[in-house]
């Protein structure tokens, strides 16, 4: 049963195609890896999916959502259940870890300026709930975030900032979690641990799509892998299928 269905997605940047007729169906509960050389359109795919870029053509459907989600505004897409992290780490640096996570839960709470000024009980209840929920999400990563929760995000180590971004995305209760190079800058032990964390998240029902260039990480984590080159899907399949496919080898190593 598909959860996310991408149909012939195309995106041009000044005449160059960053994505060309990209199709992808993601099943509920899967972990899908996306690989490809630099500039092959992986991050562009995430950016289009979350509404940061406008696609030139193509449609994306999410189960239980009737319309094409590309027609939605950026801030609406997370409400539907698609949440992401960023390749070049973008936590809200001057906010504390807890506050970062609470921003992630923005779309799951209510309360405007009036209820804030008048201290209406609804908004307060939401806030209490959100704080508890953020603590729960932090506990996925053991004590690493919990012990730092009142520190500003820029104070965190590199790996912890990656974890913070994942946690922030999870607070929004996503159905699909998009991870953009989660292990960049992590050491092998940390990325091994991250595999377990992501698997745990996945077992709790979150479908994961992960962009990664560390092939050993992909091998441990993903059931299915999609390889991109020049914005086009060259193959999808299991790790060993993709790993040994001549087109993938060519994309990475070049032609003879």
């Amino acid at each position: 049963m598909w959860l996310l269905s991408v149909r012939s997605l195309t995106k041009y940047f000044g005449g160059l195609s960053a994505l060309k007729n990209f199709d992808l169906e993601v099943e509920t509960g899967e972990i899908v890896g996306i690989i490809g050389p630099n500039g092959s359109g992986k991050t562009t795919f995430f950016n289009v999916l979350t509404g940061m870029y406008q696609a030139d053509s193509g449609e994306v459907f999410l189960r239980d959502v009737k319309e094409n989600i590309l027609t939605k505004r950026t801030h609406h897409i997370i409400t539907l259940g698609i949440s992401r992290t960023f390749q070049n780490q973008r936590p809200f640096n001057n906010l504390s870890v807890l506050e970062n996570l609470m921003v992630g839960g923005h779309c799951r709470t209510k309360g405007g300026i009036m209820s804030a000024l008048l201290k209406l009980p609804g908004a307060r209840r939401d806030r209490v709930w959100l704080k508890d929920w953020a603590h729960e999400v932090m506990s996925i990563f053991g004590d690493r975030l919990l012990s730092m929760k009142n520190n500003p995000a820029w104070n965190l180590s590199y790996a912890n900032r990656r974890r913070l971004e994942i946690a922030r995305a999870l607070v929004s209760k996503p159905r699909v979690l998009l991870l953009d190079e989660p292990t960049a800058g992590m050491n092998p032990a940390e990325s091994l641990q991250l595999v377990q964390n992501i698997q745990e998240i996945n077992q709790r029902g979150v479908t994961v799509i992960v962009i990664e260039h560390d092939m050993n990480f992909i091998k441990r984590l993903c059931q299915r892998i999609v390889a991109l080159d020049y914005g086009e899907k060259i193959i999808e399949g299991t790790y060993s299928e993709v790993r040994n496919h001549p087109k993938v080898i060519e994309a990475y190593l070049g032609q003879d």
Binding site: Y230, G254, D256
Partner: protein, 237 residues
């Protein structure tokens, strides 16, 4: 000519290069290979002084160049062909070439017209496009312009960052042929590349970078046959 010894570089708290040692001798094509985010571009930026070293040193022609501003390093004789070409979009092709010759603008012995003729011998297409804006060129032509722009500076050495990036496979082949031609003029070239097979087919020696560290160093021929090279790119079987 160029010698990087035990260079470590940081972006803020993140270590991007770890104890990298690279050497380029005269009349050599040396390539630095590695997958995404392995630190290739950082190496290039470190040579050019855009990124400062935390430890280790970079020498060019026997003199230290680390810590110098980029334009001084370029004036010493290292000409860069930057990643994604970085053609000046609203300057004409001719003006782009003149910018390449900028460091010789007060040099009476430098004949810009003659120098351009030399470049046109390598890239005859550019002559027709002389008055066009840089941005109107195709990707392949832009790459040629970027290389000619570097040649205009009469460099002692050329450093290239991913010349094959964003080009179609056919053009990639052409670009590497050009690199070989340039090298025959007698200019050593240091190429940072992702396209392993193509780069090694023209290079004399190669280094393989993984997670900011040099993991292998050998002649191009040996590297091409080494199975472990593929593993650093594509992971275990």
């Amino acid at each position: 000519m160029l010698k990087m010894t035990h260079v470590t570089t940081h972006y803020g708290p993140i270590r991007a290069l770890n104890d990298v040692t690279i050497e380029v001798a005269e009349n050599e094509i040396v390539c630095l290979l590695g997958g995404n985010a392995s630190g290739k571009s950082t190496t290039m930026k470190t040579i050019l002084g855009i990124v400062k070293t935390t430890s280790g040193q970079v020498e060019f022609m026997g003199k230290r160049i680390d810590g110098l501003p980029t334009y001084t390093i370029v004036r010493r004789g290292i000409s860069p062909v930057p990643e994604a070409r970085r053609i000046f979009a609203r300057l004409s092709v001719k003006e782009n070439l003149e910018m390449g010759a900028f460091i010789h603008r007060r040099d009476p012995g430098y004949d810009i017209e003659a120098e351009m003729e030399e470049v046109f011998k390598l890239f005859p297409q550019l002559r027709e496009r002389l008055q066009q804006d840089g941005i109107t060129l195709s990707g392949g032509e832009q790459q040629m312009l970027a290389i000619s722009r570097a040649l205009m500076a009469k460099p002692r050495m050329i450093v290239m960052d991913e010349p094959s990036m964003g080009l179609s496979p056919k053009l990639v082949g052409e670009v590497f042929e050009i690199i070989q031609k340039v090298s025959k003029i007698g200019i050593p070239i240091f190429v940072v590349e992702q396209n392993l097979k193509k780069a090694l087919s023209i290079a004399d020696r190669g280094y393989i970078l993984n997670k900011g560290q040099i993991v292998m160093e050998d002649s191009a021929k040996n590297l091409l046959q080494n199975e472990n090279v593929i593993k650093t790119y594509l992971g275990e079987e």
